[in-house]
């Protein structure tokens, strides 16, 4: 009788997850494996299945001598190194500000959250015009405060990437602020009261209560932001197409170019896998490292 119950449970369990499992296998897991196989081939899609040619690790070796790829990877790293910490710090400060008690709290939260829900396509189009070097409102403002030689933003190899980074930080603050706010609200008030009785000031409470109690949230925000930062695509596709030169190309954008403009499926898949491995490694390292600084 017990065993039978056990078996029907197993059957119902699998039946409940079956529809999603089928979809996952056909649309996610299957493609992941297939992508690994074609990453070892030289295959132009336009030649059909006959054009597949196994070439071992050639794609994986070739990419490190391909300037478009190495520059894209470098841009990805710069983008992550600036966007992630800046987003985290601003979001945390904003969340602390809101959590301290302000008037119109939900109105303010709503305004800060707006960029996050808006489509990145619309946002990129608006910022593209704001950054217009000769007439755009941003440079018009910079002129008006006496800067005679403001950056040429998207038209300049030095400023195009920073321009995209600024916009990305702006767009990401809302989401991260909401997550931090939830984290802050879950810290028991009694801890702060106890600290106050013991004579701790605001800064010491922050250092000894807020920071450690918030560490699981910080860990989550860090991991997800790094993963997202490597997947940046639409903003670059719309605002700069990777240019000028290679100055704003990122790996996702270059993969798109190689895959869907040149139909070089093998090479594009190999680069996609390297991107995946990098994200995976960073996540694993963080997972291991969290034991040292995250308190649960």
């Amino acid at each position: 009788m017990r065993l039978r119950h056990h078996q029907t449970e197993t059957l119902s369990g699998w039946l409940f997850i079956l529809p999603s499992l089928l979809g996952f296998f056909i649309l996610i897991i299957g493609p992941i494996l297939f992508s690994l196989v074609i990453s070892f081939t030289n295959w132009n899609f336009l030649e059909g299945m006959k054009g597949i040619q196994f070439i071992g690790f050639d794609n994986f070796i070739k990419m490190w001598g391909d300037r478009w790829f190495t520059d894209s990877m470098k841009n990805n790293l710069v983008y992550a190194l600036i966007t992630v910490p800046a987003t985290m710090i601003i979001s945390l400060l904003t969340a602390i500000g809101l959590n301290r008690g302000v008037f119109f709290k939900s109105g303010i939260r709503l305004m800060i959250f707006m960029p996050y829900i808006s489509s990145i396509v619309a946002i990129s189009i608006v910022w593209g015009v704001l950054y217009n070097p000769s007439q755009g409102p941003i440079n018009a403002f910079l002129y008006s405060i006496g800067i005679s030689d403001p950056p040429r933003w998207l038209a300049s190899t030095d400023w195009a990437l920073p321009a995209i980074i600024i916009m990305s930080i702006w767009a990401a603050i809302g989401y991260n602020m909401v997550i931090y706010l939830a984290g802050l609200q879950s810290i028991p008030r009694t801890l702060y009261e106890a600290a106050k009785i013991d004579g701790a000031g605001a800064f010491r409470s922050f250092q000894h209560i807020t920071v450690p109690m918030l560490s699981p949230t910080t860990f989550f925000v860090l991991v997800t932001n790094i993963i997202y930062s490597f997947q940046v695509f639409a903003a670059i596709f719309i605002m700069t197409q990777g240019g000028p030169g290679t100055s704003t190309s990122v790996v996702t954008y270059y993969i798109y170019q190689v895959g869907f403009s040149f139909y070089d499926m093998g090479y594009a898949s190999a680069m996609a896998w390297i991107l995946f491995l990098i994200i995976f490694l960073i996540t694993v390292i963080q997972w291991r490292g969290q034991k040292k600084w995250v308190n649960y």
Binding site: V126, N132, A234
Partner: protein, 273 residues
């Protein structure tokens, strides 16, 4: 003292919030201006004469935005419905039934979140070509339905429902399907609303799938239609902004109506998921 501190903080936060929405304000006023007024400085926040015809040109005419809207409404509705049904069933399985292999499968689902779109995009492109659904709306709907995040969101909630609820129903002979449809789903209405709102926003804004899987303009959804519109507009910034405002209006509306559920959804799919 406390009061002044709160006032001061409010002023700082409002100032910050205003700089956050400046690009939106600029987009809206520009969408209602004459081309010649676009780059006037200092910025004229309220246009001299409001140019509603910018919107008329976006919505009525040869490449009416309405086509993109209709496609987005269709694709988003079907995708959201599919996501809710399939995620709810899967979440029930993961949260309320103990069975062999469950945790391993769940771990695989978790791991898929790390896989960048670019890894699956190429094989999907090949697969959809092979299945003959390339350049159809199905090519957007299917990848939209099967995502892990809806499952995480609902599973999280299902785990929090006390076991007694379903135990009592079991005693009376209800099977899992009955428990799912008549106990768990009614209890999880707020979470389902969160999922609907989040999934709506996500799919309405989806850009990469339409970009890769669609070639016919009549099939374009709003984000891709918008880029197409911009390419044709050249430097007609007033029309560009009218189109951009039109494209984000539905998500802003949905967000304003369901702010509470939206934020709850974001928080529980994030922090606890």
């Amino acid at each position: 003292m406390r009061m002044t501190l709160k006032l001061l903080l409010t002023v700082i936060m409002i100032a910050f919030a205003f700089t956050m929405i400046l690009p939106f304000l600029w987009m809206i006023t520009t969408s209602l201006k004459k081309p010649i007024e676009v780059f006037a400085y200092p910025i004229q926040w309220i246009p001299e004469r409001i140019q509603w015809d910018n919107y008329e040109k976006v919505w009525i005419g040869a490449n009416s935005f309405w086509v993109y809207y209709w496609n987005s409404i269709k694709v988003t509705t079907i995708t959201v419905l599919g996501t809710v049904i399939i995620s709810s069933a899967a979440a029930y399985g993961f949260a309320r039934i103990r069975f062999k292999g469950r945790d391993a499968v769940f771990l695989i689902y978790l791991a898929t979140l790390m896989v960048p779109d670019q890894v699956t995009l190429i094989p999907r492109f090949i697969l959809f070509n092979y299945l003959g659904i390339y350049n159809t709306h199905l090519a957007l709907i299917l990848p939209g339905i099967f995502t892990a995040f809806g499952i995480f969101l609902l599973r999280q909630f299902y785990l929090s429902i006390p076991e007694d609820f379903s135990e009592a129903a079991r005693m009376e002979g209800a099977n899992h399907f009955r428990i799912w449809t008549s106990i768990i789903i009614p209890l999880s209405k707020p979470t389902i609303v969160s999922l609907i709102i989040l999934s709506f926003t996500l799919n309405w804004n989806e850009f990469v799938n339409p970009l890769v899987f669609l070639t016919d303009r009549e099939l374009f959804t709003v984000p891709l239609g918008l880029t197409n519109f911009i390419d044709e507009m050249g430097t007609e910034y007033t029309l560009m902004m009218a189109a951009a405002v039109s494209s984000i209006l539905p998500v802003i509306l949905v967000f304003l109506l369901g702010q509470k559920w939206f934020i709850e959804g974001v928080v529980s799919s994030g922090v606890k998921g």
